[in-house]
Protein backbone atom coordinates (compact mmCIF):
# COMPACT_ATOMS: atom_id res chain seq x y z
CA UNK A 1 0.00 0.00 0.00
CA UNK A 2 2.71 2.42 0.93
CA UNK A 3 4.57 2.12 -2.35
CA UNK A 4 1.44 3.30 -4.11
CA UNK A 5 1.58 6.64 -2.37
CA UNK A 6 5.00 7.42 -3.84
CA UNK A 7 4.02 6.56 -7.37
CA UNK A 8 1.17 9.05 -7.33
CA UNK A 9 0.07 10.69 -10.52
CA UNK A 10 3.55 11.52 -11.68
CA UNK A 11 4.84 8.15 -12.70
CA UNK A 12 3.98 4.50 -12.69
CA UNK A 13 7.64 3.54 -12.39
CA UNK A 14 8.63 2.60 -8.84
CA UNK A 15 11.13 4.92 -7.17
CA UNK A 16 13.94 2.34 -6.97
CA UNK A 17 13.77 1.94 -10.75
CA UNK A 18 13.72 5.71 -11.19
CA UNK A 19 16.87 5.86 -9.07
CA UNK A 20 18.52 3.26 -11.31
CA UNK A 21 17.56 5.19 -14.43
CA UNK A 22 18.72 8.44 -12.87
CA UNK A 23 22.09 6.80 -12.24
CA UNK A 24 22.65 4.77 -15.38
CA UNK A 25 20.26 5.93 -18.09
CA UNK A 26 20.91 8.06 -21.17
CA UNK A 27 21.02 11.80 -20.33
CA UNK A 28 17.41 12.39 -21.46
CA UNK A 29 16.26 9.36 -19.46
CA UNK A 30 18.17 10.62 -16.43
CA UNK A 31 16.41 13.96 -16.69
CA UNK A 32 13.05 12.27 -16.91
CA UNK A 33 13.78 10.01 -13.94
CA UNK A 34 15.02 12.92 -11.86
CA UNK A 35 11.92 14.95 -12.69
CA UNK A 36 9.76 12.09 -11.49
CA UNK A 37 11.78 11.51 -8.35
CA UNK A 38 11.63 15.22 -7.61
CA UNK A 39 7.91 15.42 -8.22
CA UNK A 40 7.37 12.46 -5.91
CA UNK A 41 9.19 14.24 -3.13
CA UNK A 42 12.24 11.97 -3.16
CA UNK A 43 14.69 14.62 -4.09
CA UNK A 44 14.24 18.25 -3.28
CA UNK A 45 15.58 19.98 -6.33
CA UNK A 46 17.45 18.38 -9.18
CA UNK A 47 20.69 20.06 -8.30
CA UNK A 48 21.00 17.79 -5.28
CA UNK A 49 20.27 14.69 -7.22
CA UNK A 50 23.33 13.98 -9.31
CA UNK A 51 25.73 14.21 -6.44
CA UNK A 52 23.52 12.22 -4.17
CA UNK A 53 21.98 9.30 -5.98
CA UNK A 54 25.12 7.23 -6.52
CA UNK A 55 25.97 7.18 -2.83
CA UNK A 56 22.39 6.70 -1.66
CA UNK A 57 21.66 3.70 -3.88
CA UNK A 58 19.57 0.97 -2.25
CA UNK A 59 21.67 -1.92 -0.99
CA UNK A 60 19.21 -3.91 1.15
CA UNK A 61 21.22 -4.03 4.36
CA UNK A 62 22.99 -1.67 6.75
CA UNK A 63 25.33 0.42 4.66
CA UNK A 64 26.94 3.52 6.10
CA UNK A 65 29.39 5.95 4.60
CA UNK A 66 30.98 8.96 6.28
CA UNK A 67 32.57 11.80 4.34
CA UNK A 68 34.85 14.55 5.65
CA UNK A 69 33.93 17.99 4.28
CA UNK A 70 37.22 19.39 5.60
CA UNK A 71 35.39 22.57 6.65
CA UNK A 72 34.00 23.35 3.22
CA UNK A 73 30.34 24.28 2.83
CA UNK A 74 28.26 23.96 -0.33
CA UNK A 75 25.21 22.18 -1.67
CA UNK A 76 25.24 19.31 -1.99
CA UNK A 77 28.05 18.93 0.55
CA UNK A 78 31.28 17.55 -0.83
CA UNK A 79 33.96 15.61 0.97
CA UNK A 80 36.35 12.71 1.04
CA UNK A 81 35.10 9.24 1.90
CA UNK A 82 36.72 8.37 5.22
CA UNK A 83 34.76 5.40 6.56
CA UNK A 84 32.45 2.91 4.91
CA UNK A 85 30.49 -0.06 6.26
CA UNK A 86 32.71 -2.57 8.00
CA UNK A 87 35.79 -0.31 8.16
CA UNK A 88 37.49 -0.19 11.56
CA UNK A 89 37.19 2.94 13.70
CA UNK A 90 39.21 5.97 12.55
CA UNK A 91 41.17 8.47 14.61
CA UNK A 92 38.60 11.20 13.93
CA UNK A 93 36.01 11.07 16.72
CA UNK A 94 33.33 12.90 14.66
CA UNK A 95 33.65 10.28 11.92
CA UNK A 96 33.16 7.45 14.40
CA UNK A 97 30.28 9.16 16.17
CA UNK A 98 28.46 9.73 12.86
CA UNK A 99 29.08 6.10 11.88
CA UNK A 100 28.04 4.60 15.22
CA UNK A 101 25.04 6.90 15.63
CA UNK A 102 23.79 6.03 12.15
CA UNK A 103 24.23 2.36 13.09
CA UNK A 104 22.28 2.67 16.33
CA UNK A 105 19.50 4.51 14.47
CA UNK A 106 19.39 1.91 11.69
CA UNK A 107 19.22 -0.82 14.36
CA UNK A 108 16.32 0.77 16.25
CA UNK A 109 14.28 1.04 13.06
CA UNK A 110 15.29 -2.42 11.80
CA UNK A 111 15.18 -4.46 15.01
CA UNK A 112 12.12 -2.91 16.59
CA UNK A 113 10.00 -1.59 13.70
CA UNK A 114 11.24 -3.89 10.89
CA UNK A 115 12.15 -0.89 8.79
CA UNK A 116 15.07 -1.27 6.41
CA UNK A 117 16.82 2.11 6.56
CA UNK A 118 15.53 5.61 5.84
CA UNK A 119 13.45 4.67 2.80
CA UNK A 120 12.59 1.11 3.99
CA UNK A 121 14.41 -0.12 0.89
CA UNK A 122 17.84 -0.32 2.44
CA UNK A 123 19.18 2.96 1.17
CA UNK A 124 22.74 3.83 2.17
CA UNK A 125 23.05 6.14 5.14
CA UNK A 126 25.39 8.93 4.14
CA UNK A 127 26.88 11.38 6.66
CA UNK A 128 29.06 14.42 6.10
CA UNK A 129 31.09 15.70 9.05
CA UNK A 130 33.21 18.84 9.56
CA UNK A 131 30.85 20.90 7.41
CA UNK A 132 31.81 24.57 7.05
CA UNK A 133 33.75 26.50 9.73
CA UNK A 134 32.40 26.85 13.29
CA UNK A 135 29.05 25.66 11.92
CA UNK A 136 26.48 25.59 14.74
CA UNK A 137 24.13 23.08 13.22
CA UNK A 138 23.25 19.67 11.84
CA UNK A 139 20.65 19.03 9.16
CA UNK A 140 19.11 16.50 6.79
CA UNK A 141 19.35 17.89 3.25
CA UNK A 142 16.78 15.56 1.72
CA UNK A 143 19.32 12.83 0.99
CA UNK A 144 22.05 12.82 3.62
CA UNK A 145 23.06 14.09 7.04
CA UNK A 146 25.37 17.02 7.49
CA UNK A 147 27.12 17.90 10.78
CA UNK A 148 28.98 21.01 11.83
CA UNK A 149 31.72 21.09 14.45
CA UNK A 150 30.06 23.85 16.49
CA UNK A 151 31.87 27.03 17.40
CA UNK A 152 33.47 25.65 20.56
CA UNK A 153 32.06 28.58 22.56
CA UNK A 154 28.35 27.86 22.66
CA UNK A 155 28.13 24.53 20.86
CA UNK A 156 30.31 21.44 20.82
CA UNK A 157 30.42 19.20 17.73
CA UNK A 158 26.97 18.06 16.61
CA UNK A 159 27.90 14.39 16.26
CA UNK A 160 28.54 14.30 20.01
CA UNK A 161 24.93 13.40 20.88
CA UNK A 162 23.46 10.18 19.53
CA UNK A 163 19.96 11.65 19.78
CA UNK A 164 20.99 14.42 17.36
CA UNK A 165 21.97 11.73 14.87
CA UNK A 166 18.70 9.84 15.39
CA UNK A 167 16.87 13.15 15.02
CA UNK A 168 18.45 13.94 11.64
CA UNK A 169 17.94 10.44 10.25
CA UNK A 170 14.32 10.50 11.33
CA UNK A 171 13.80 13.60 9.17
CA UNK A 172 14.66 11.23 6.32
CA UNK A 173 12.16 8.63 7.52
CA UNK A 174 9.46 11.31 7.82
CA UNK A 175 10.24 12.55 4.32
CA UNK A 176 9.66 9.05 2.91
CA UNK A 177 6.50 8.47 4.96
CA UNK A 178 4.09 11.17 6.21
CA UNK A 179 6.26 13.84 4.53
CA UNK A 180 5.00 16.36 7.08
CA UNK A 181 5.19 19.88 5.67
CA UNK A 182 7.98 21.82 7.36
CA UNK A 183 5.95 24.74 8.69
CA UNK A 184 3.56 25.50 11.56
CA UNK A 185 1.87 22.49 13.23
CA UNK A 186 2.83 19.87 10.62
CA UNK A 187 6.39 21.20 10.84
CA UNK A 188 6.37 21.04 14.65
CA UNK A 189 5.10 17.45 14.37
CA UNK A 190 7.92 16.73 11.92
CA UNK A 191 10.39 18.12 14.48
CA UNK A 192 8.72 16.19 17.30
CA UNK A 193 8.97 12.87 15.41
CA UNK A 194 12.69 13.52 15.06
CA UNK A 195 13.06 14.26 18.76
CA UNK A 196 10.97 11.22 19.71
CA UNK A 197 12.98 8.72 17.69
CA UNK A 198 16.26 10.52 18.42
CA UNK A 199 15.52 10.12 22.13
CA UNK A 200 14.53 6.47 21.61
CA UNK A 201 17.84 5.75 19.86
CA UNK A 202 19.60 7.18 22.91
CA UNK A 203 17.39 5.35 25.43
CA UNK A 204 17.85 2.01 23.66
CA UNK A 205 21.61 2.51 23.42
CA UNK A 206 21.74 3.26 27.15
CA UNK A 207 19.22 0.47 27.94
CA UNK A 208 17.02 2.91 29.84
CA UNK A 209 13.35 2.48 30.66
CA UNK A 210 10.94 5.38 30.14
CA UNK A 211 11.05 6.04 33.89
CA UNK A 212 14.85 6.12 33.99
CA UNK A 213 15.57 8.12 30.82
CA UNK A 214 16.47 11.85 31.03
CA UNK A 215 14.26 12.74 28.01
CA UNK A 216 16.69 15.52 27.08
CA UNK A 217 17.56 16.37 23.48
CA UNK A 218 21.15 17.37 22.86
CA UNK A 219 22.49 16.83 26.41
CA UNK A 220 26.16 17.80 26.35
CA UNK A 221 25.91 19.81 23.12
CA UNK A 222 26.09 23.15 24.94
CA UNK A 223 29.58 24.03 26.12
CA UNK A 224 30.19 23.80 29.90
CA UNK A 225 30.13 27.58 30.46
CA UNK A 226 26.58 27.87 29.07
CA UNK A 227 23.78 27.61 31.63
CA UNK A 228 21.84 24.69 30.25
CA UNK A 229 21.76 20.92 30.36
CA UNK A 230 20.44 20.39 26.83
CA UNK A 231 18.51 22.06 23.99
CA UNK A 232 15.10 20.60 24.71
CA UNK A 233 13.39 18.57 27.41
CA UNK A 234 10.54 16.25 26.49
CA UNK A 235 9.82 15.67 30.16
CA UNK A 236 9.67 19.38 31.04
CA UNK A 237 9.61 21.52 27.87
CA UNK A 238 10.92 25.03 28.50
CA UNK A 239 13.49 24.02 31.13
CA UNK A 240 16.47 22.77 29.07
CA UNK A 241 18.50 25.99 29.27
CA UNK A 242 18.34 29.47 30.76
CA UNK A 243 21.43 31.46 29.92
CA UNK A 244 22.11 35.21 30.18
CA UNK A 245 23.32 35.40 26.58
CA UNK A 246 21.33 32.62 24.87
CA UNK A 247 18.06 33.33 26.61
CA UNK A 248 15.63 30.75 27.93
CA UNK A 249 14.33 27.54 26.35
CA UNK A 250 11.14 28.80 24.60
CA UNK A 251 9.31 25.47 24.34
CA UNK A 252 5.72 25.17 25.56
CA UNK A 253 4.47 21.93 27.11
CA UNK A 254 0.77 22.47 26.42
CA UNK A 255 -1.51 24.18 23.89
CA UNK A 256 -2.22 26.97 26.38
CA UNK A 257 1.30 28.28 25.69
CA UNK A 258 1.40 27.55 21.93
CA UNK A 259 3.64 30.14 20.28
CA UNK A 260 2.37 31.95 17.17
CA UNK A 261 5.36 33.14 15.20
CA UNK A 262 6.70 33.51 11.67
CA UNK A 263 10.27 32.77 12.81
CA UNK A 264 11.66 29.24 12.54
CA UNK A 265 9.19 28.24 9.79
CA UNK A 266 6.34 29.01 12.15
CA UNK A 267 7.97 27.85 15.38
CA UNK A 268 8.68 24.26 14.36
CA UNK A 269 11.46 23.90 16.98
CA UNK A 270 9.33 25.69 19.59
CA UNK A 271 5.88 24.13 19.45
CA UNK A 272 7.35 20.64 19.00
CA UNK A 273 7.47 20.77 22.81
CA UNK A 274 3.74 19.98 22.89
CA UNK A 275 3.75 16.67 20.94
CA UNK A 276 7.13 15.86 22.54
CA UNK A 277 5.57 16.12 25.98
CA UNK A 278 2.56 14.04 24.86
CA UNK A 279 4.92 11.25 23.79
CA UNK A 280 6.79 11.44 27.09
CA UNK A 281 3.55 11.24 29.10
CA UNK A 282 2.25 8.30 27.06
CA UNK A 283 5.56 6.40 27.30
CA UNK A 284 5.86 6.87 31.07
CA UNK A 285 2.23 5.88 31.62
CA UNK A 286 2.64 2.72 29.52
CA UNK A 287 5.89 1.92 31.33
CA UNK A 288 8.87 -0.27 30.41
CA UNK A 289 11.07 0.61 27.48
CA UNK A 290 9.60 3.57 25.58
CA UNK A 291 10.63 2.20 22.17
CA UNK A 292 8.63 -1.01 22.56
CA UNK A 293 5.04 0.22 22.72
CA UNK A 294 4.85 4.03 22.67
CA UNK A 295 7.55 4.12 19.97
CA UNK A 296 5.73 1.53 17.90
CA UNK A 297 2.46 3.44 18.12
CA UNK A 298 4.14 6.68 17.00
CA UNK A 299 6.10 4.89 14.26
CA UNK A 300 3.04 3.27 12.71
CA UNK A 301 1.16 6.58 12.89
CA UNK A 302 4.06 8.27 11.07
CA UNK A 303 4.28 5.49 8.49
CA UNK A 304 0.64 4.81 7.76
CA UNK A 305 -1.70 7.44 9.18
CA UNK A 306 -0.19 10.90 9.06
CA UNK A 307 -0.11 13.03 5.91
CA UNK A 308 1.79 16.16 4.93
CA UNK A 309 -0.84 18.55 6.36
CA UNK A 310 -1.50 16.63 9.59
CA UNK A 311 -1.73 18.86 12.67
CA UNK A 312 -1.50 18.06 16.38
CA UNK A 313 -5.14 16.94 16.53
CA UNK A 314 -4.49 14.65 13.57
CA UNK A 315 -1.50 13.16 15.37
CA UNK A 316 -3.62 12.61 18.47
CA UNK A 317 -6.34 10.74 16.60
CA UNK A 318 -3.80 8.78 14.55
CA UNK A 319 -1.83 7.57 17.59
CA UNK A 320 -4.99 6.77 19.57
CA UNK A 321 -6.35 4.77 16.66
CA UNK A 322 -3.04 2.89 16.20
CA UNK A 323 -2.94 2.11 19.93
CA UNK A 324 -6.48 0.76 19.65
CA UNK A 325 -5.58 -1.41 16.65
CA UNK A 326 -2.39 -2.76 18.25
CA UNK A 327 -3.46 -3.24 21.86
CA UNK A 328 -7.26 -3.23 21.86
CA UNK A 329 -10.13 -0.81 22.36
CA UNK A 330 -9.95 0.56 25.89
CA UNK A 331 -6.53 -1.01 26.47
CA UNK A 332 -4.10 0.51 28.95
CA UNK A 333 -1.95 1.65 26.01
CA UNK A 334 -4.84 3.35 24.22
CA UNK A 335 -5.93 5.09 27.41
CA UNK A 336 -2.37 6.25 28.09
CA UNK A 337 -2.15 7.87 24.64
CA UNK A 338 -5.55 9.53 25.07
CA UNK A 339 -4.62 10.81 28.49
CA UNK A 340 -1.33 12.21 27.19
CA UNK A 341 -2.89 14.26 24.38
CA UNK A 342 -5.55 15.48 26.79
CA UNK A 343 -2.91 16.56 29.31
CA UNK A 344 -1.16 18.75 26.72
CA UNK A 345 -4.49 20.27 25.69
CA UNK A 346 -4.63 18.94 22.13
CA UNK A 347 -7.88 17.01 22.71
Amino acid sequence: MRAGRFIGIHSIVPPYMLEEIAKRGEPHQQDWALRNLTAAGFIRGQRFALGVIPSAAPVGHKSRTVYDCKHKDGQPPTGTLVRKEGDPAKKDVAVNEAYDGAGATYDLYYDIYQRNSIDDRGMSIVSYVHYDVNYDNAFWDGSEMVYGDGDGEIFARFTKCIDVIGHELTHGVTQYEANLAYANQPGALNESMSDVFGSLVKQRTLKQTAAKADWLIGAGLLMPNIHGKALRSMKAPGTAYDDPTLGKDPQPATMKDYVQTTSDNGGVHINSGIPNHAFYLAAVEIGGNAWTKAGKIWYIALRDRLRSKSNFAGAASATISVAKDLYGNGSKEMKAVQKAWRAVGVI
Partner: protein, 103 residues
Protein backbone atom coordinates in the same frame (compact mmCIF):
# COMPACT_ATOMS: atom_id res chain seq x y z
CA UNK B 1 20.20 53.31 7.61
CA UNK B 2 18.92 50.82 10.15
CA UNK B 3 19.01 47.07 9.80
CA UNK B 4 17.36 44.43 11.99
CA UNK B 5 18.38 40.82 11.71
CA UNK B 6 17.18 37.56 13.19
CA UNK B 7 18.44 34.02 12.75
CA UNK B 8 15.94 31.37 13.86
CA UNK B 9 15.62 27.60 13.52
CA UNK B 10 18.53 25.26 13.11
CA UNK B 11 18.61 22.01 15.09
CA UNK B 12 19.01 23.98 18.31
CA UNK B 13 16.12 26.36 17.61
CA UNK B 14 17.95 29.16 19.41
CA UNK B 15 17.15 32.60 17.98
CA UNK B 16 19.86 35.25 17.58
CA UNK B 17 18.96 38.87 16.90
CA UNK B 18 20.63 42.17 16.32
CA UNK B 19 19.63 45.69 15.28
CA UNK B 20 22.24 48.03 13.87
CA UNK B 21 22.06 51.73 13.15
CA UNK B 22 24.58 52.99 10.65
CA UNK B 23 25.05 56.06 12.87
CA UNK B 24 26.54 53.91 15.63
CA UNK B 25 29.19 52.36 13.41
CA UNK B 26 32.73 53.53 12.82
CA UNK B 27 33.01 55.28 9.42
CA UNK B 28 34.83 52.39 7.73
CA UNK B 29 32.30 49.85 9.04
CA UNK B 30 29.39 52.05 7.98
CA UNK B 31 30.85 52.19 4.50
CA UNK B 32 31.32 48.41 4.46
CA UNK B 33 27.65 47.97 5.46
CA UNK B 34 26.48 50.32 2.70
CA UNK B 35 28.56 48.40 0.18
CA UNK B 36 27.16 45.04 1.31
CA UNK B 37 23.58 46.33 1.13
CA UNK B 38 24.22 47.69 -2.35
CA UNK B 39 26.00 44.50 -3.40
CA UNK B 40 23.01 42.45 -2.24
CA UNK B 41 20.69 44.68 -4.28
CA UNK B 42 18.58 44.45 -1.15
CA UNK B 43 15.52 46.43 -2.22
CA UNK B 44 15.01 44.24 -5.28
CA UNK B 45 15.08 40.94 -3.34
CA UNK B 46 11.81 39.03 -2.94
CA UNK B 47 10.14 39.31 0.45
CA UNK B 48 10.20 35.53 0.84
CA UNK B 49 13.03 33.40 -0.48
CA UNK B 50 11.87 30.11 0.94
CA UNK B 51 11.68 26.79 -0.92
CA UNK B 52 8.37 24.96 -1.12
CA UNK B 53 9.88 22.16 0.96
CA UNK B 54 12.41 23.72 3.33
CA UNK B 55 15.24 21.44 4.44
CA UNK B 56 14.72 20.37 8.07
CA UNK B 57 16.84 22.09 10.71
CA UNK B 58 18.17 24.79 8.37
CA UNK B 59 18.40 28.37 9.59
CA UNK B 60 15.87 31.03 8.65
CA UNK B 61 17.07 34.62 8.30
CA UNK B 62 14.75 37.62 8.66
CA UNK B 63 16.09 41.01 7.64
CA UNK B 64 14.51 44.44 7.77
CA UNK B 65 16.21 47.43 6.25
CA UNK B 66 15.12 51.05 6.71
CA UNK B 67 16.85 53.75 4.75
CA UNK B 68 15.60 57.32 4.34
CA UNK B 69 11.94 56.42 4.75
CA UNK B 70 12.15 53.32 2.58
CA UNK B 71 11.65 49.92 4.20
CA UNK B 72 12.03 46.37 2.96
CA UNK B 73 11.86 43.00 4.71
CA UNK B 74 13.24 39.71 3.47
CA UNK B 75 12.78 36.19 4.86
CA UNK B 76 15.30 33.76 3.43
CA UNK B 77 16.12 30.11 4.09
CA UNK B 78 19.75 29.19 4.55
CA UNK B 79 19.75 26.59 1.76
CA UNK B 80 18.61 29.09 -0.89
CA UNK B 81 20.58 32.09 0.33
CA UNK B 82 21.47 34.18 -2.74
CA UNK B 83 25.23 34.48 -3.27
CA UNK B 84 25.05 38.28 -3.32
CA UNK B 85 23.41 38.32 0.11
CA UNK B 86 26.01 36.08 1.77
CA UNK B 87 28.52 38.77 2.84
CA UNK B 88 25.81 40.79 4.59
CA UNK B 89 24.42 37.72 6.39
CA UNK B 90 27.91 36.66 7.47
CA UNK B 91 28.59 40.14 8.86
CA UNK B 92 25.23 40.25 10.67
CA UNK B 93 25.82 36.80 12.17
CA UNK B 94 29.10 38.03 13.64
CA UNK B 95 27.31 41.09 15.03
CA UNK B 96 24.53 39.04 16.62
CA UNK B 97 26.77 36.49 18.34
CA UNK B 98 26.72 36.80 22.10
CA UNK B 99 29.93 38.39 23.41
CA UNK B 100 32.61 35.90 24.39
CA UNK B 101 32.51 34.93 28.03
CA UNK B 102 35.53 35.21 30.24
CA UNK B 103 37.00 32.02 31.59
Amino acid sequence: MRISFERSGGFAGITMKTAIDEKDLAPDEAQKLRQMVEGADFFSLSKRIVPRSPQPDRFQYDLKLEVSGREHTVTVSEEVLPEKLKPLIKWLLEKSRPPKKGK
